[in-house]
Subunit: 314 residues, 2 copies
Amino acid sequence: MKEYCFGIDVGGTTVKMGLFRVDGELLEKWEIPSRTENEGKAILPDIAEAVQKKLEERGIEKDSVTGIGIGVPGPINAEGIVPHTANLGWGYKEVTRELTELTGLVSKGGNDANVAALGEMWKGAAAGHKSGVMVTLGTGVGGGIIIDGKIITGANGAGGEIGHIHVEDAVDWNCGCGNQGCLEQLASANGMVTLAKWMIRQGADTKGTTLQPETMTAKDIWDAVKADDAFAKDVAERFGKYLGLALANVASTVDPEVFVIGGGVSKAGPVILEYIKKYYLKYTFRGCRGAKFVLATLGNDAGMYGSAKLVLEQ
Amino acid sequence: MKEYCFGIDVGGTTVKMGLFRVDGELLEKWEIPSRTENEGKAILPDIAEAVQKKLEERGIEKDSVTGIGIGVPGPINAEGIVPHTANLGWGYKEVTRELTELTGLVSKGGNDANVAALGEMWKGAAAGHKSGVMVTLGTGVGGGIIIDGKIITGANGAGGEIGHIHVEDAVDWNCGCGNQGCLEQLASANGMVTLAKWMIRQGADTKGTTLQPETMTAKDIWDAVKADDAFAKDVAERFGKYLGLALANVASTVDPEVFVIGGGVSKAGPVILEYIKKYYLKYTFRGCRGAKFVLATLGNDAGMYGSAKLVLEQ
């Protein structure tokens, strides 16, 4: 009988490793470094070794392990193949095949934002729901769409790329993706700062603000919002407009039960949901007005949970 | 062994009935009137009678029939329950349960735009693809999302409500849904005419146009585009911008292999795809640039095909 599985979240600097019971209880988590030098050749062998050691340490037989789920920062297709992942050094890589060869265990892979969404749906903020959309407001804006418990991966691995929904015609600088006016340019942690500076250039009223344009962070902006800073609140309105608009458009497409907001920016707390919901309700289709908005609860563990769920489901 | 099924598309004036082989061959199609008076009480009994007669006429045993798929113009949930359908006269109605009681055959129901999408994916313009999005440019703008061969119905039956994606902040009149700036207000058959009149009010250059503002139709606009009418081409650009933007945002959400464009407006032919693709490529995420754009091929039969597929799949 299968009792255990591994949920692994590969990042650019560390690999988060989780040993789970098949019911979703996280028994132990630890980290190993991501050795991205030499085209990231050591990453999968390092993971395999860590898995092997953990099994020996706990006296767990391989027969009782369902497998290894692995989340990677980039596109990965249904066959577990990554075409290219810049921040791990990988070129074309058959991730799950290699991991299975190295460990003798079944392996299943997913994109990091997608597995984080799956994790929050399984054991986090959206547990108990069948369909949900997670938005991760970090350095960029990531997203994951879960329908009937399954990730919408997309024909090109671009399912849930919510950060690249076009929300503003007036943006005249490029997003990392090459387009102009993407949500990520204005609503990520960096994007909020860019947005505030852009509003200043456009002549926004900054009288009395405590924000320092040269050094402010997204956290500073939200702290100022909570301190009733008028300019910061104007920035939050625009942030809310862009996210509310993007999520309303997502709702008209997949109509989820719940939206989960996570990532560094979400640490500002429930206030961010107020600004997002205000504009979501303005723009969304009538039938979708009842969607719930919740803050993510698994933090950096979401990817491990989702990766574990991925391999349990296959 | 099951050899046959029925695919039925209920509209506000007629019910389109199709008898199919289970491999998807349409053996016969015919229509009966939609008797919407008296809260549409007669609609399902009329359908049941028509099914019964067809079986007798052809000497088909019920045992050899998989069931009846039925598409309805409005939301219908996974249990086949319609909360309310204005243009059929129905209030709360357990459509599939009633149809099964009346016929003794399994029944499965779907929204008309969604089953049309499923039909085009199965036997129409997108046959052979796993994922696709259909947009129906008719009186309004309908949509259907198919992922891995399944309809994305949505938590509130609002999956694929692409017509209500917000695309224009400057619109100051209401959509049927109550919002302002929906795609449907500017890109349906009626919406294109509204768009052209709005552009004239905004001071568009109409010099030399053959279009008559008081009487023009979407077909007139596309005919003028083909005749190289400058104003009509400006209208087509704006139409393309709104649709291209909306579909780019859909792509960042579900990343389909193919977009199918159908409905009355699509009869203008491949020229409409040019205008849509131009702006789709401008706004879409890099990974989604390869999506195909095709014109629907099943016309008014798409709903029958999709309804048949629905019951074959359950």
